[in-house]
Amino acid sequence: MENKTILKVSHLKTYFDVTKGILTRRQIVKAVDDVSFEVREGETLGIVGESGCGKSTLGRTIVKLYEPEAGTIEFEGKDISKLKGNELKAFRKNVQMIFQDPYASLNPRMTVGEIIMEPMIIHGIYKTAAEREARTVELLEIVGLKPDHIRRYPSEFSGGQRQRIGIARALAVNPRFIVCDEPISALDVSIQAQVINLLEKIQKEMNLSYLFIAHDLSMVRHISDRIGVMYLGHMMEIGPANDVFYRPLHPYTIALLSAIPISDPDTAKAKNRIILEGEIPSPINPPGGCPFASRCSKATERCFQQTPEPIQVGDRLVTCFLYEK
């Protein structure tokens, strides 16, 4: 039986007004531009794409750090923009975020115990300090740290250990859904695998859902059930992880995958890569048409005029005219 949908994002737009001065033309960054997808219970949706394509903005809009310009986000069937009072509080508890930088995201003046207990206090989950402390010790064990770490400060920990502290804090309030914004990018390869395995283990035990943002495509394929590929604020392709990774359809996904360095000398040295010319256009007042048109080898006249809509191809949605029936 298919698991039920926990998060539904429809035609989401998040814009930033970056106009400087009063007489200049309005300058709008369309960081997320008409993005739709669903995440099911216990599922991991990976989001990949190059720097500035809108991944973090998408994650931050979902946890209500940013207000969307248009579109809706439904969590457990409820439109999150309409939540008030207890429902809003429950949402803030159920949806947590793990941040990219394990150095900047922990308050250096708080002990590890205080950091993990803070959200418990805010959400009033445990009545007594003793209960909070007992749960904190449990969480430290879940993430592979030691109970006596509770009185130490973040500066005494390595990057991987700090990321574990961040994970323990996110888990402190028993969330249902976690937005992981590049949780491993700042870590060493040998430590990345520790954190990924930990996230997978916790997911199984607690039936959590993840939105897993990263730009390391092979790690994303490893952890994700499905993958969404973003470019200039748009979702270009979304579908089952292995399909997207091994049988990409969208010209951008194909180029992106071709650019990943393969960790195998014989294959890597033999492989003729598609080298994309040029760079991502500025997201400020982007031109109409397909966002990828300026770098796409398959682009036609029409791609510069009209913006393609997502097209269903098997289990996948592909936003490209090439797949029109």
Partner: protein, 335 residues
């Protein structure tokens, strides 16, 4: 004769907490036109090893031992009569024969100078070109590194360039002196994969065309597999294994190298879900590293001898060496 030969490099930093032993008795060689990859965890001593060679250590850095021969010349600090004559020599070498490319191009480019100035000055300093000739050469270099409409671009400032373009400018500046060796310290880490692919392709093309040797410091094994002829693995200030690309990837000898290779999600053709096998624990504290093997606390194969005695080098082939007791006959039966 190798282009670069480093023997027994040992570099420490004096800090209020004590002595950080960043580079501990490291030796290696590099041949002309060769690309050597240097891989290792954050803090394993990769950058400081290169700074030791280049004479660019921070003020609290101390070179405790080491002999460096480059292009037939002894360039070890300890062999110069005084600091001043060493600095003079290194300034000359860095301008003419060795070029460096850093992770963050902005730390290297001067933000208030036009690209033109930053390219033409080194050309005029290192050659007897006239300004006009230097400008021609600068435009040629910009074309070589793939900057479109260089005549227009050369008049711009660094902030008008994107990250990938800035890294190309740095590479163009590095090439102004026709270096024999380029040392690239994580040159593509800050770049997106599609831009990284452009820059790697460029480095590969340049070294084939100009026969420049390259030392590529990176933590990305994919970059190494694509670009390098040989690979050195660093851990806890030691060089724990060195070999050809195929030796390191297909017959790794050191448990750390093996661990590193099984930590990466393979992006090869195989769709089967292989399990990630992380290396437990974290790297040693270089203020107080273990007396024996630096990897001992995380190694599943560790024996009694490993804790107390630094492993010797074992040679597997002409090109393949590792520092581990496992293949040393003297450690047999020591469980």
């Amino acid at each position: 004769m190798p282009l670069l030969k480093a023997e027994h490099l040992t570099t420490s930093f004096i800090t209020p907490q004590g002595k950080v032993q960043a580079v501990r008795d490291v030796s290696f060689e590099l041949n002309e036109g060769e690309v050597l990859g240097i891989v290792g965890e954050s803090g394993s001593g990769k950058s400081q090893m290169m700074y030791t060679i280049m004479g660019l250590l921070a003020d609290n850095g101390v070179i405790e031992s080491g002999k460096i021969t480059f292009d037939g010349e002894d360039i070890s600090l300890l062999d110069f009569p005084d600091r001043k004559s060493y600095d003079r020599k290194m300034l000359e070498i860095r301008g003419n024969k060795i070029a460096m490319i850093f992770q963050d191009p902005m730390t290297f480019l001067n933000p208030v100078l036009k690209i033109e100035t930053q390219l033409i000055e080194p050309l005029m300093n290192h050659t007897d070109m006239t300004r006009e000739q230097a400008r021609e050469r600068a435009l040629e270099l910009m074309r070589l590194v793939g900057i479109p409409s260089p005549e227009k671009r050369i008049k711009q400032y660094p902030f008008e360039f994107s990250g990938g373009m800035r890294q190309r400018i740095i590479i163009a500046i590095a090439l102004t002196c026709n270096p024999k060796l380029i040392i690239a310290d994580e040159p593509t880490t800050a770049l997106d994969v599609t831009i990284q692919a452009q820059v790697l392709e460029l480095i590969d093309k340049l070294r084939k065309e100009t026969n420049t040797a390259v030392i590529m410091i990176t933590h990305d094994l994919g970059v190494v597999a694509k670009l390098c002829d040989r690979v050195a693995i660093m851990y806890g200030g030691k060089m724990v294994e060195v070999g050809t690309d195929r030796e390191i990837f297909y017959q790794p000898a050191h448990p750390y190298t093996k661990g590193l290779l099984s930590c990466i999600a393979k992006s090869g053709a195989d769709e089967k879900e292989e399990e990630l096998k992380p290396i437990p624990g974290s790297p040693p504290d270089l203020l107080n590293p273990p007396k024996g093997c630096p990897f001992v606390d995380r190694c599943s194969k560790a024996m009694r001898v490993c804790k107390d005695v630094m492993p010797e080098v074992t040679s597997y082939t002409e090109t393949h060496r590792a520092r581990c007791w496992l293949n040393d006959p003297r450690a047999k039966g020591d469980e």
